[in-house]
Symmetry: none
Subunit: 203 residues, 4 copies
């Protein structure tokens, strides 16, 4: 009988509505900032009544929590396969790709990396040692290798890796925060930044 399919259809609809609400919320967050994100605004933009949102989410906090959680996965768990290039080339490539990657989820980046809640910082902080932030450890490894092979000037790899990361973080942060930086400008900034850093590293 067809009726046995009613439930999955419902379920799918519910998931779509949740996604719609989350998407709308994210859009508002992105365009107008955290403090402009209200249940009523979400509803209005969806052309629904505010009450309906509470069918799909327990409360506003649940929406915010999910938004944050989603950001987490996008930002912190993106992994580049290890490269077989020489350390300097690998480094340059890694720096570029890291930025590329981060810029694919600009809102998630902001949500996650600008959050100073302890529970979030546990995963995002990288100035101290050790850090759970994979990219920093990756950079440190490349630095070690590059110094060993004489491509990079001698340095403290742990500190220098963090300096490099801060530089990238700074650039990405501005790019995801400032609106309307044209694509070619973005590209130029990125290349300029990476070149500057690579020059700074070289032996």
């Amino acid at each position: 009988m067809e009726t046995t399919q009613a439930k999955p259809i419902r379920e799918k609809y519910v998931q779509e509505m949740r996604a719609l609400i989350l998407g709308t919320a994210q859009k508002i967050y992105k365009e107008e900032g955290a403090q402009a994100l209200t249940i009523r605004k979400i509803a209005k933009q969806m052309e629904y009544s505010p009450g309906i949102i509470y069918h799909y989410f327990k409360n506003k906090e649940e929406i915010l929590a999910i938004l944050r959680e989603e950001g987490f996965h996008k930002i912190l768990h993106s992994t580049e396969p290890p490269s077989s290039l020489p350390p300097d080339r690998a480094m340059e490539s890694f720096l570029l790709k890291f930025c590329d990657n981060a810029l694919k989820n600009p809102d998630a980046f902001r949500e996650v990396m600008f959050d100073n809640a302890p529970s979030v910082l546990e995963y995002t902080s990288f100035l101290g040692e050790p850090t759970k932030y994979r990219a920093v450890n990756r950079i440190a490894n490349l630095l070690n290798a590059g110094v060993e092979q004489g491509q990079f000037a001698p340095c403290d790899p742990a500190l220098t890796a963090r300096a490099l990361m801060c530089s990238l973080f700074g650039l990405v942060s501005r790019l995801v925060t400032e609106k309307g930086v044209a694509a070619d400008r973005r590209f130029n900034l990125l290349v300029t930044q990476v070149k500057l850093l690579m020059r700074g590293l070289r032996a």
Copy 2:
């Protein structure tokens, strides 16, 4: 007649009241965050009535705008007196002092620089040209001079100034976000960052 003197006196009084209101607002902002800043709270803390604030300011937005403007002075427009040092030394000194300065107002830094509201970005964005962010322009000038004098390798000063700024911004951002980075660690990170950048610039 006395009346000829009344005006300047009144004018002075008005300026004092504006300063008092702004100071109180800033204090609340600093101690309790942006969302805790209400007209009522300002008035209460001044031991005045809420209405009076509208004698001296058109509305809350005007106060916020000025606060931001002031925050920018602290964050964005802290001007170091032009240095008589050669450009490379001046640059190094400027980069260090810029960070030192920014770290004096960590909350203001976060509030101002992480805000992506258009009204804020008007003052804080610096990836595009021109920018109201003085430090960037200053760096660009130092770059120009340094390149001319052959201390720095040839580069696009506008782009490179922004890359430098992003690097500093990234470091300061993490320092004001991550908790518990020890003072000596902070110092090491700062020195490492600036050295790396200076190496990247040199001819």
Copy 3:
């Protein structure tokens, strides 16, 4: 044809659903109070959907009205079979049983007897004459008989019956209102009250 039987079957089903809904409503009311009684909660506890309730009842008010009406019967129309005991024994027994009975439905008692809506008072008021409150009339009859037989001191039976009833009502009211009066304390209070009243009646 089958259809001739369909109607009674359906009718019976409807009655069962109504009973189920009312029972669930009463349970919630009893356990969580009047303000916790919501259509959603009834439906959830029945594991049905909220909408279905409107198939069986016009609206929430109809459910509440029936709940009240049921409380009415429990409180006001509980009839003890006439006793063959002498009036004084019969009176003592009746007073005790009346309280016992009332205490079996504490919430209903509160709901009905504390209500001062005219529509409710029509059934519950007993200070005036005549009254629809059976127990009062019963007590008056017992009083009459007891006075005639010389067991009770002469008195105005109508007034005295009301005084007796008020005393019982007062005790029961406190017992259904105050929480945590232990069973043995309840018993002692009840016995003390009835003895006091019986002493007051005796010739």
Copy 4:
């Protein structure tokens, strides 16, 4: 100067507004019950906007608390001066006066004594021991004295005092709940009740 009087005038106005709000709240409570008492309804009935109520009261709970507190004083703290009459006369007088007193604030009596919220019961419950309800303790004292002097039959004073109180409470409860009991009828009921109880006490 006249201006020195501005403050007291303001203060008086504030007190009047608070009284107006409380009065309106009480009226709604009395006429429509506790659950119909909303801030909006108070405001609407006063022909004010809801927000203004928060100028005069912290929140709804404060209003409710004051309403309760006022009821408390009226109902629970009315003290009769200790009498120099012999215990039996003093008892009779006390019982009568207690009812008289309670009937002076019929609404308060209902509000306070029919409330089964823990915070209210803390003050109103008297079936257990000890109780904060002064009248009950007063009655117990009179009972003790009367038994000692041989005017009252031996009894458990604590329990008997509660039985007496319940009887009075029952009568008053009905009088404040049932509408339109004529004054002479009230008087007759009261006298009948007290006589019955006094007969029940006597040695």
